[in-house]
């Protein structure tokens, strides 16, 4: 965090209620000479603050409290201390869901960020320079489009394309004479997670692309020109000029997408319901199952609390980076 000293040092100028009029100016008559009574600024925070308390803080504390109990959702919760957490530590299903989430993070954060970086650089200083900015903007829009789809809808589209019997992908493979490659994409336990990852990459790739393209506009073109005159190839310039210049954006994209990947509930719900046989379950879905399907609310709350702690830790990392005062 930034040191509080930084804040007090930049005390805002001119908050004194009435400063003498500039001597050169005409003398104002009837100007308010006595200090006005002002609404304290803190009062503006009251509505938002109360809402934050009621909707986020209280429920979050409640969730942590519930995680220390055995509770089917009705009647009185029974206090069991850290039992849910010790059970969690030895729960193979939970650890499996955690491993799946690593794959999901790869598909939603790492892969899109990397591909997005290459695509953004190519669009910005290759396509944009040779075919004009409108071509680049059009291509960017095409790639970004899946980002605005509700995940529920993306899930419908894809689970139908990936359907085993009459799905479009298998029909396409059949049409190309590649029957051997036809699969039950979402129903085969060994393959379902990869299919889900593929859909996630398709959805997510537009986000880093757009961020990086806007970041590239900050980069001084002189740097590229100098490198070009020195005879550096496009790839060398990409590695040595582009990437170092937009490091803040890369960091933001990775972190935001990682946080999003830990909340992949909707994807899993509409594509696979965690199946087949738990092969695509992630902690976010696992907590939901315990809340509403298995009515083990205390256990579900423990899963959700662990998830929340990971995300809070990531957010703290993000804030520390932001407060180091990098420009951007």
């Amino acid at each position: 965090m930034t040191r509080p000293a930084d804040v007090t040092a930049t005390s805002s100028p001119g908050t004194a209620p009435d400063r003498p009029a500039p001597a050169a100016g005409p003398v104002k008559t009837g100007g308010a000479a006595r200090p006005r009574r002002e609404i304290p600024y803190a009062l503006f925070l009251v509505p938002g603050g109360l809402l934050l308390l009621a909707v986020i803080i209280v429920p979050f504390v409640m969730n942590a409290a519930i995680s220390l109990t055995e509770w089917p959702g009705v009647g009185d919760p029974k206090f069991v201390g850290l039992d849910n957490y010790t059970e969690l530590a030895g729960d193979a299903e939970f650890w499996a869901s955690f491993r799946h989430n690593i794959a999901v993070t790869l598909a939603m954060a790492v892969i899109p960020t990397f591909i997005g970086l290459v695509l953004a650089a190519g669009l910005f200083d290759y396509i944009g320079k040779r075919f004009g900015p409108r071509t680049a903007a059009f291509l960017r829009a095409c790639i970004y489009l899946p980002q605005v789809l509700p995940i529920a809808v993306a899930g419908i589209v894809w689970s139908w394309i990936l359907a085993p019997e009459d799905g479009a992908l298998n029909a396409l493979l059949g049409g190309a004479g590649l029957e051997s490659l036809q699969q039950d994409w979402l129903g085969d336990p060994g393959r379902a997670l990869y299919s889900v990852m593929g859909v996630m990459v398709w959805v997510q790739i537009g986000f880093p692309l757009v961020i990086f393209m806007s970041g590239l506009q900050r980069v001084d073109p002189a740097l590229h020109e100098a490198a070009e005159i020195d005879g550096a190839s496009w790839w060398r310039r990409f590695w040595h000029v582009t990437i170092p210049q937009i490091r803040p954006e890369i960091f933001v994209s990775l972190l935001w997408c990682t946080i999003a990947s830990l909340k992949a509930f909707a994807f899993i719900y509409v594509l696979t319901k965690g199946g087949p046989g738990g092969a695509t379950s992630v902690p976010s879905y696992y907590s939901f199952e315990n809340f509403f399907d298995n009515t083990r609310v205390g256990y579900g709350a423990a899963v959700a609390t662990v998830l929340a702690l990971i995300i809070i830790a990531l957010t703290v990392v993000f804030l520390r980076r932001q407060s180091k005062g990098e420009e951007g």
């Binding site: 979050f60 139908w160 509930f265 939901f288």
Partner: protein, 282 residues
């Protein structure tokens, strides 16, 4: 641009290879949309005989009409618009109030308050959903659109506060000073100076909050259990999970789900792409 013109002659045909690669990628991104459109206008017989990749023989809207009536899609659209619209407006208003105190008023401890708001936005809804569900039942708001509006107003305000505070902390002090010398009090400064000047940013936030709320799934799924209150995303997701629809109806439902989104996208394309950059880095 003169250099680009001169440069263009130096580049060989290789640039067309790069452009082709990009076009192929763009096609891959758009193919699912095209396939949905193709099959939404087929009859089920056509689909089973010709498969999903054949061009439709004619435009059959029966699948679309059937699906529309079956889920009362008009009602779902109204619910989604009502919930997303209310959240967008309320969250912008609250974000402005918060950001005025934090960014311009610089109240004590504002850094920690900002951290709190950002945390509130990144916190997983999985860790809030059960207590919220329980509380909503306690106060009689379960299965009402109001409950979802309240929850998302808060979640979106958290992000809006974080973003807008940093924007407003760079607000030109001279303008504020001038307004104060003219005798405006703090509320008047907010309404007559700060809000009009930051209108572009507020428009971006409004659009974002609307689309984000439209796309939300987990909390609406848990809260909106009856047909009368459900949003588009939830209705489609639940139907999909039941696996009761034939292929053409599925693609009809997907098309109806996609259309509003495409409409937003085209309307807000500029706002969005400009807005994302503001939101990402600041």
């Amino acid at each position: 641009m003169a250099t680009a013109q001169a440069g263009a002659r130096r580049y060989g045909p290789g640039r067309y290879a790069v452009l082709t690669a990009y076009l192929v990628l763009a096609v891959v991104m758009l193919v699912p949309f095209a396939i949905v459109l193709l099959n939404a206008v087929k009859t089920p017989q056509e689909y089973s005989t010709n498969g999903p990749l054949a061009l439709p023989e004619g435009i059959h809207l029966d699948g679309l009409v059937d699906f529309w009536n079956r889920v009362d899609y008009g009602e779902k659209l109204v619910n989604s618009v009502l919930i997303s619209g209310s959240v967008a407006v309320l969250a912008v208003v609250l974000s402005v109030l918060n950001a005025y105190a934090l960014g311009i008023g610089r109240v004590k401890g504002r850094l920690w308050i900002l951290v709190l708001f950002l945390m509130a936005n990144t916190l997983p809804q999985e860790a809030l959903v059960y207590p919220l569900y329980f509380l909503a039942k306690q106060v009689g708001l379960y299965d009402t659109r109001i409950s979802v509006i309240i929850v998302f107003t808060c979640i979106q305000t958290a992000f809006g506060t974080y973003l807008l505070s940093s924007v407003l902390s760079g607000f030109p002090r001279e303008i504020l000073e001038a307004a104060r010398i003219d005798g405006a009090n703090r509320l008047q400064v907010l309404l007559r100076v700060v809000v009009p000047v930051s209108r572009p940013t507020l428009a971006v936030l409004l659009v974002f909050f609307f689309i984000w709320t439209w796309n939300e799934f987990l909390i609406p799924l848990v809260f909106l259990v009856s047909n009368e209150t459900q949003t588009v995303s939830v209705a489609l997701g639940v139907l999909q999970g039941q696996r009761l629809m034939d292929a053409t109806m599925t693609s009809a439902s997907a098309l109806l789900g996609v259309l509003p989104t495409i409409a937003f996208f085209l309307i807000f394309q500029r706002t969005l792409t400009r807005g994302i950059t503001v939101g990402a880095i600041k």
